[in-house]
């Protein structure tokens, strides 16, 4: 990289050199921020994961022991299971619902702007406020859901106070935040050229076929982006579990991030928590790359064939 830059510097004209300086000066604030507050701490955390350290009194090298101990700890596997269930349920559920809403809001409805605002609104509310709101909604006796079920003579579960229902409760709650995905789908839908639908109509395609053969393929880049971002976010879920259940009952909602938070800040094991963080990072990277790889088979970029 440095050699390439030096070569470009030598070969370039004075104008080009100035352009290069301008470009790097513009990039400098971001690079300083990234190196100082993201990449630097990441490297530090990677190093720390090979140490037994509380960052206060003792730090000594333990090699891969933290990773070995992590894979031997039942609670780690439990948190991994909880995280996987959450991620692989909320992402398809959230993406599907966001797409359905986007399709509905892409029609010529009365008060379209108002509807779009209403669906997007929950996204701008802070996670803590949303969690407190849902605590009341899931209240077994006075909550909205169980009172609604009671109208039909159904006795609702204890939701957050039951190890069976606590995680499903958080999954249901995740649907609340589909507004951001919905907005991206909406933008994607509006970017589909109308001539494709006209051609499909001339070919005699009904609405379902238009959706299946035009809308969905043209929307795959947006779906790919949404699912990737949602998956990364879902693997890191923390706020809801931290505020609403503290990982309970009986660790039924113990996410991986909550697990590593406990290890770092309650048990003051920063080396061990760093190892857990890097395992989570590896999992996220692995699934993202896998998804990226699979995208070659199903994501359609208009104009790609022309290139």
């Amino acid at each position: 990289m440095a050699l390439r830059l030096a070569k470009r510097w030598r070969l370039g004209s004075s104008q080009k050199r100035q352009d290069l300086i301008t470009a790097y000066l513009c990039l400098l604030p971001w690079m300083v921020g990234f190196l100082s507050f993201v990449f630097g701490p990441m490297l530090f955390s990677l190093g720390l994961s090979f140490f037994e350290s509380d960052l206060l009194t003792r730090t000594f090298f333990v090699g891969l022991d933290n990773y070995r101990d992590l894979f031997r700890e039942d609670l780690f596997w439990k948190s991994l299971r909880v995280t996987f269930i959450y991620a692989f349920t909320t992402v398809p559920l959230g993406s599907s619902i966001a797409l359905l809403i986007a399709l509905a809001l892409n029609q010529k409805l009365l008060g379209l702007g108002v509807w779009r605002t209403i669906y997007y609104l929950p996204t701008v509310i802070s996670g803590v406020a949303v969690s407190l709101l849902w605590l009341q909604i899931f209240n077994p006796r006075a909550g909205l859901i169980n009172n609604f079920l009671a109208i039909f003579g159904v006795q609702g579960p204890s939701w957050l106070y039951s190890s069976t229902w606590a995680l499903p409760s958080l999954i249901i709650m995740s649907v609340w935040g589909v507004g951001a995905n919905m907005l991206l789908y909406l933008a994607g839908l509006q970017g589909i050229p109308t001539h494709l639908y006209e051609a499909a109509t001339i070919d005699g395609a009904n609405n379902w076929r238009k959706f299946w053969h035009v809308t969905l393929p043209m929307l795959t880049p947006t779906i790919f982006f949404n699912v990737t971002i949602s998956l990364i976010g879902a693997f890191q879920f923390f706020t809801q579990a931290f505020i609403m259940t503290q990982g309970g009952p009986n660790n039924a909602t113990l996410s991986m991030v909550l697990f590593l938070y406990r290890k770092a800040f309650l048990q003051i094991r920063f080396g061990y928590a760093s190892a857990a963080a890097w395992v989570l990072f590896a999992i996220i990277i692995a699934f993202t790359l896998l998804f990226q790889y699979s995208s070659r088979r199903w994501v359609y970029y208009e104009g790609e064939t022309a290139r």
């Binding site: 100035q18 300086i21 301008t22 000066l25 400098l28 037994e52 509380d54 960052l55 206060l56 009194t57 003792r58 000594f60 609670l75 009341q136 209240n139 077994p140 006796r141 006075a142 909550g143 204890s158 106070y161 039951s162 190890s163 309970g248 009952p249 009986n250 660790n251 406990r262 800040f265 309650l266 048990q267 003051i268």
Partner: protein
């Protein structure tokens, strides 16, 4: 005349700004007097007051209309400056996640000089050698400390593992039984006697539990303090058991017979008879589990609660319609939580050069009668200094006349008799809780497991304590 800014100019300006910023960032901190370097300025800096950073909770005061932060900055600090004009105290509010933030500050060496805290957080800080040992200073300046502080609070300022005096007491919180007199009168049940037992308690709860025509409970007789460590574990001692051993603090004894009997008593009354409300049943009412609002809302007839909500109760219930009583006596002992809030000092003051100023201030807030009286007057909480604690009931009644018929003295009796005492904490409390809390949740939150699962869990806790100690070398 116009001047066009060329790209070269822009680059020069940018480079200049970056250079200036870099120089500013590398410059020593301490304000303009440091950079000037003249004799006059150095004399000025010598006269600058010694700064003390104090971190505490904004929400701490329970007295209506009093803001804890405002009281300190407008009244307490100026009062202190009258005698110590060479000091400046900087208030730093403990916000959400304060213990986590303090920990990271400690790792960075930037923790406040004086901090509000409580067990077991303070024990962790002591174990990590982040606190100044106050004992040598206490020996010099407060030689009668063992006599002037309430024992329950003072004892908990000593760390058994590191053998240091971790803090001075701000105030002590005590669990007592709060009861609604109309609930008892309507059911024709006698008010709880001072020496009531756990059998009396269960029987009273049964008699006070009300059901509707469908058999649904509309009011539970009572509720225990909704905390495993600060509530249920005390019943283990009431049955003659121990949470953990006294010497190493690492052997979990919650699987022993007295502990299991105590836990079964709680479980039976909570789940089989349901005369004591379950946590989620109270949560379902929409009233926080720790709040005395359950009494005026008639959700329970009596409840174990903290000593911090007198003014709310006086507002919510008719004068003379509620009172306070002791915790019921178990087969062996009568025991409840008596845990202090504390002022501790960060070890870094030794290098910061304000060690003496910090100690003088901590002594003033911990052992000074004016400040400790004001703990009662401004926060409504029970001071740790015994002489101020004695005045506490009358101070509260001066503030709120409707507290006149309430037996506030019961709380002092609980402290002085040894009924109120500190929680039995493990050497590595968070490691123990990681195993104990899920098990307790299975038993008491879900009602899905018998208490004897604790036999196995107790062994796991002991093993985990040993492993943690071994890992720490």
């Amino acid at each position: 005349m116009s001047y066009r800014l060329s790209r070269r100019d822009l680059l020069r300006l940018g480079a200049g700004a970056v250079g200036t910023a870099a120089l500013a960032a590398c410059a020593p901190t301490g304000g303009p007097s440091d950079s000037a370097g003249s004799q006059d300025t150095s004399q000025e800096s010598a006269a600058e007051p010694t700064q003390i950073r104090l971190a505490s909770f904004d929400w701490f005061a329970n007295v209506p209309g009093i803001q804890w932060a405002e009281y300190h900055q407008m009244e307490a600090f100026p009062r202190y400056y009258e005698e110590h004009g060479d000091v400046e105290i900087l208030w730093e509010p403990h916000g959400d996640g304060w213990s986590t933030k303090v920990l990271t500050n400690m790792a960075a060496g930037t923790a406040p000089d004086v901090m509000s805290t409580w067990p077991p957080i303070i024990n962790t800080w002591a174990e990590k050698q982040q606190l100044l040992d106050l004992q040598p200073l206490v020996d010099l300046d407060i030689p009668d400390a063992d006599d002037i502080f309430l024992k329950a609070g003072w004892d908990q300022c000593w760390d058994q593992i590191t053998q240091i005096r971790m803090a001075l007491v701000t105030n002590i919180d005590v669990t007592s039984v709060y009861y609604s007199k109309p609930a008892f009168e309507e059911a024709g049940v006698a008010f709880p006697a001072q020496d009531w037992t756990v059998e009396d308690c269960a029987q009273t709860a049964i008699e006070l539990t009300q059901r509707d025509d469908n058999g649904q409970i509309t009011r539970w007789g009572g509720q225990l303090r909704p905390s495993f460590v600060l509530g249920y574990f005390y019943y283990v001692e009431a049955w003659g058991g121990m949470v953990r051993d006294e010497d190493t603090l690492m052997t979990c004894l919650l699987g022993e017979e007295p502990a299991l009997q105590a836990f079964e008593w709680i479980r039976e009354n909570m789940w089989d008879l349901n005369c004591l409300a379950q946590t989620n049943q109270v949560n379902a009412s929409g009233i926080p589990n720790t709040w005395t609002g359950v009494l005026p809302a008639n959700i329970v007839a009596f409840a174990e609660r903290s000593a911090d909500q007198f003014f709310d109760l006086a507002d919510a219930m008719e004068e003379g319609s509620w009172d306070i009583n002791h915790i019921p006596t178990g087969p062996v002992d009568r025991v409840c939580m008596g845990a202090p809030d504390q002022w501790c000092v960060y070890k870094g003051v030794a290098e910061r050069g304000n060690h003496d100023a910090v100690w003088n201030f901590v002594k003033w807030i911990g052992a000074g009668e004016w400040y400790q009286d004001n703990v009662a007057r401004m926060s409504g909480r029970l001071p740790g200094l015994a002489s101020s604690a004695d005045k506490w009931p009358s101070i509260l009644r001066e503030i709120e006349g409707r507290l006149e018929p309430v037996q506030l003295e019961v709380i002092l009796e609980q402290l002085k008799s040894g009924e109120a005492r500190g929680p039995q904490l493990f050497r590595f409390q968070s490691v123990a809780e990681e195993l104990l809390i899920p098990a307790m949740e299975r038993i008491y939150v879900e009602g899905a497991a018998p208490v004897d699962i604790l036999e196995d869990i107790a062994q796991q806790v002991t093993e985990a304590q040993k492993e943690t100690l071994a890992r720490m070398g």
